[in-house]
Amino acid sequence: MNLLEVKGLTKRFGGIVAVNSASFDVGKNEVVGLIGPNGAGKSTLVQLLMGIIKSDSGEVRFNGKDITRLKAWQVVRQGVAGTFQCTKPFLRLPVFANVLVASSAWKKPGQNGEASMGKAMSVLKKVGIPHLAKLPASQLSHGDLKRLEIARSLATDPRLLILDEPFGGLNYNEIELLSDLVKKLRKQSEEDHPTENSGLSMIIIEHKLSELMKIVDKVIVLNYGEILAFGTPEEVTKNEAVINAYIGEEGI
């Protein structure tokens, strides 16, 4: 059984079909890239998964449980956490408080206030911004905000982490740091959770294909709301339809 199973997921906005009958699955400890031209429905698709917008038809099963109709906060509690494309932190709250909200949002078995604080600090360390903990989020640079978003998502103890354009608007240096972070998260989850019933899977939306292809196991290509291709990076980059629609003749 796969961790995430999506079957025939469809969303219409008026006459536009943003996501048309999308079906795919994400395995345990798997990193999946989601690519496609602007307006292809990538963000809509992940927001459907996160429960932020409601689908018209189709089914999302996570860990064997139907989460299609759950509210956003219920989906998070099932173990699906995501970042937003435009970072939306709690601007006037300190960085630490931003993460603390996520680590203490609901009562987990055997977790007290101190444990939530520890958890918040440890995820800040994981993404590399513990020195900014006391600053209000409004004073952070764009790259640090992206990391704060990831820290906030990680603080909810997700099994599936969805990153919506983590490299968007960053310079090469920052991209390298962040892609190292993603690799590190993945390695850590493989080391910490060798068993089947834990670990961290990821879905990453990104336009910077050269960076993305290095860190993913599988790629989903979306075009006009439909899944054009779904396979390993090698398969996808050779797929003619994908080259025509998105990558172009020059390749990556």
């Binding site: 906060w73 937003f84 932190p89 709690f90 601007l91 006037r92 909200v101 906030r152």
Partner: protein, 353 residues
Amino acid sequence: MLLAQKYGQKLKKAISIPSQLLLLIGVISFILIPVFFNDPHTLRLLIMMNIMAMFASSWNLVSGYAGQLVLGHSLFFGVSAYVSAMLNTNLDWSPVASIPAGTLAAVVTGLVAGYPALRLKGIYLGLTTLAMPVVLSGIVIVFSDITGGEMGIVGVSLLSRSRIAFYYITLLILALTVFAIYKITRSKTGLIFQAIRENEMTAQASGVNTTYYKLLAFSLSGLFAGLAGGLYAHFIRVVGPSVLSFGFSFEPIIWSSFGGVATVMGPVVGVFILVPVIEELRAVLGENASLVYYIILGVVVIFAPGGVMRWFVNRIEKKCPQCETANFSFRRHCRNCKSRMKINGVLEEVKQS
């Protein structure tokens, strides 16, 4: 002896922080005031200040901290005032029972008024809540045989015959209210309130049950506003539609903005300054009082947008750049780590090394 020593040290630690010393002086002086000024007029003003400070604090909780803009806050105050007055006059409930009953009604009203907040945001929520007390005052006038109509309910019994006792009761309840709000805002609940204020979507994406916390903010606000309303009814002894008016809805917003929105003491400070000021202005200037009043408010909004309390505390209190201990701003060296307080002082040290 040991206990005294322990608390002595605690006290010494507390009053070395300027803002806390100020708070302590404030509390002691308000405990002592009736000893020196015990004419009925002053006591009446002081009691009203206590009640209105509770009312302003309750608005600050739902709108300042949780960010759910309520423009019709007199709804909670009014519901509680009417319910306790009606129970008292029609059913002969004693104030000790009718005030909690009115407060409970205000909590339930909070849950009802919070329902639109689950779908509406910002000014749209504000306008919806603005209409609520107006609708209720219409209902009050329609059912005038039990509500007294435009004349209101008269002959509500006093909670206490002695004004001095009444003053201490309201001061105690105000202190408990402020302490409760302080505890709430420093807790996980307060953190989540502020997270919802900053960005509701992100709060949901962090796993926060926003429905629960928004309704909690409304009902807690209803609780404190309801306490104020019940005490008011049993002090003024007349409850009319004026407690549901537009003007009265805006008062807590003005007081809180003047003192400092989203600070625990801000609304209290706002009430304790503005209520006596408008009273004095009316006595001296008569009709022109509101003009001066609004000029004062305008000046504060322009020069101290965070409220007078933050402005004043920033003047007397400076944080040490090294260890972040709060110091009196006149100190040149930090009382904790002894480093220079001024930023240019730090620069000098850097130059020397």
